[in-house]
């Protein structure tokens, strides 16, 4: 079955008949190409966590903490908001949130793409290890703290302390940055950076975005070596 024409299996979560664990067991046992819709998520935690197959999951409402955590290969779409830690430690695949995300979105994520159509709260992409994160709205304070690798694109504003103690992750912000964290500096936008932003927007499915005001931020690398001065 191809992913596109496979019928979608509706997995209803209603606390009485099915627990989150039952729902995740169904998703984790599925073979590549299957499609699922989780009805009635009601803010439950850890929905669609630990997926490893190339399946397509739609969460039909708001989800709680750690939604699509540790994701590998699967594509998870949430038609509402998510709580703390969406796509935390994601390895690959794609997670898309129609609404807002709580704090620590994509924390420590190694690969794959997180798209948040609304805003993400504090500590977005904290300790990012290689994933791509595209936020159509704004991000809260301490975002990209100690981010090591990967790209973060924010079309709105960034809260205070952006990129504190950052390593080699690349940050792009279109709106205002309330304040840069230690060792995070603005860097010039060259053609290859503009191309990178364009590719991220295309991958995220965001069209018609005026990217001309986007600025780049990254590590000054002054914290890489001990200095007594």
């Amino acid at each position: 079955m191809s992913t596109l024409d496979a019928p979608s299996t509706v997995v209803t979560l209603d606390r009485v008949a099915r627990t989150t664990r039952d729902v995740n067991a169904v998703l984790q046992a599925a073979a590549d190409g299957h499609r699922f819709r989780i009805a009635g998520p009601a803010g439950e935690h850890a929905l669609a966590a630990g997926l490893t197959a190339r399946i397509d999951v739609e969460v039909d409402g708001h989800a709680g903490y750690y939604c699509a955590g540790m994701n590998q290969r699967a594509s998870v779409r949430v038609r509402g908001n998510v709580g703390v830690g969406v796509a935390e430690n994601m390895m690959s695949g794609r997670v898309e949130v129609a609404g807002d995300a709580g704090q620590s979105a994509a924390a420590t994520a190694h690969g794959g793409l997180l798209v948040v159509r609304g805003s993400a709260a504090a500590r977005c992409a904290i300790s990012l290890k290689g994933a791509d994160v595209v936020i159509a709205g704004s991000v809260g304070h301490a975002s990209a703290f100690m981010a090591q690798k990967g790209r973060v694109l924010v079309l709105g504003d960034a809260g205070d302390g952006l990129g504190d103690s950052i390593y080699e992750a690349r940050l792009y912000v279109r709106g205002d940055v309330a304040g840069l964290g230690a060792d995070c500096v603005e860097k010039p936008m060259a053609d290859d950076h503009r191309a990178e932003v364009g590719a991220l927007l295309a991958e995220a499915g965001l069209t018609g975005v005026d990217a001309s005001a986007i600025r780049r931020y990254g590590s000054a690398r002054a914290l890489y070596h001990w200095s007594t001065s």
Binding site: A42, N81, G83, G102, Q103, G140
Partner: protein, 294 residues
């Protein structure tokens, strides 16, 4: 951990079943705080010059509530009761007439109840599902800072229809408890959250409105917290500037709700069309019935 649920009615239709809605919100929060639960409901104001006082007999003795000399016993739940007293300062009345009991709160509209264990015990005990109220706060506690006793359960009130529920812990509460005692605020426990309630009561007495009092608290109260605060007519939420403790706000034309997690909001009627957002760090969010009906 700890769980917070708060509900503020914007319509009389919501007021009619506000207690049942708060009960529905508290049940999913049991996992965040299985040690004890508490609630404050704001309803049925008593005439000026008198007060309602919520009392706890911590020894669990069968107190003869009617013998304390109140105007009326509004509710009797064994070790706890709400009395109607002929003193506008219910906490003062309690200190004079029932010094051996713990005053859980006082005011013209506020009633406080607490119970050890999961919230279902509290809900049944206070008949929460049948209560009509304008607004209410609830809490499920995972004790970290002081003992698991009924008196240590939230909400905390030091009087004047003000009460507070708290997720987090304060680090300078001993300093402020001493300062506030010098300002005439009486405390019933060694709990840090009670100090925050006393602080806000003091600031309101000094003439601040609730928003001003909470904004001043940002610099005076050190620690981490998500607060939900109820007053006679108002409701407010504040997270500390670091905002580690979770919080969500939701609003429709019928109600404003705050909870630690969306699971507690998912039970509310019309939530699928609600505006749902995470309160920002160090930002005061406040509602009053006067403003809503204006």
């Amino acid at each position: 951990m700890c769980g917070i649920a708060a509900l503020f009615a914007k319509t009389s239709a919501t007021e009619a079943h506000l207690g049942a809605l708060l009960a529905d919100m508290l049940e999913p929060l049991a996992g965040r705080g299985p040690d004890s639960a508490g609630a404050a409901v704001f309803r049925d104001p008593v005439p000026g010059g008198s007060a309602k006082v919520s009392l706890l007999d911590a020894d669990g003795q069968a107190t003869d509530w009617a013998a304390l000399g109140a105007e009326a016993v509004l509710s009797d739940r064994g070790d706890q009761a709400v009395l109607h007293v002929d003193d506008p300062d219910g906490m003062r009345w309690a200190a004079e007439h029932a010094p051996h009991l713990i005053a859980l709160g006082a005011g013209t509209t506020m009633e406080v109840a607490k119970r050890r264990g999961r919230p279902d015990a509290l809900i049944a005990d206070m008949g929460l599902r049948g209560i009509r109220a304008t607004h209410a706060l609830g809490h499920t506690r995972m004790a970290t800072e002081s003992a698991v006793v009924t008196a240590g359960s939230h909400p905390f009130s030091t009087g004047d229809d003000l009460c507070l529920v708290h997720n987090g812990s304060l680090s300078n509460h001993n300093l402020w408890r001493a300062r506030l005692r010098a300002h005439g605020i009486a405390f019933q426990s060694e709990n840090d959250s009670e100090v925050a309630a006393g602080y806000l009561q003091w600031r309101l007495r000094e003439g601040d409105d609730l928003v001003e009092a909470l904004e001043r608290g940002l610099s005076d109260l050190d620690g981490f917290y998500t607060f939900a605060v109820g007053t006679r007519d108002g409701f407010a939420v504040l997270r500390d500037p670091v905002a580690c403790k979770p919080a969500l706000l939701a609003e429709t034309d019928d109600w404003v709700a705050m909870a630690s997690e969306f699971r507690a909001l998912a039970v509310l009627p019309g939530v699928e069309d609600a505006e749902v957002w995470e309160p920002g760090p160090g930002v005061v969010y406040a509602w009053t019935h006067a403003a809503v009906s204006a």
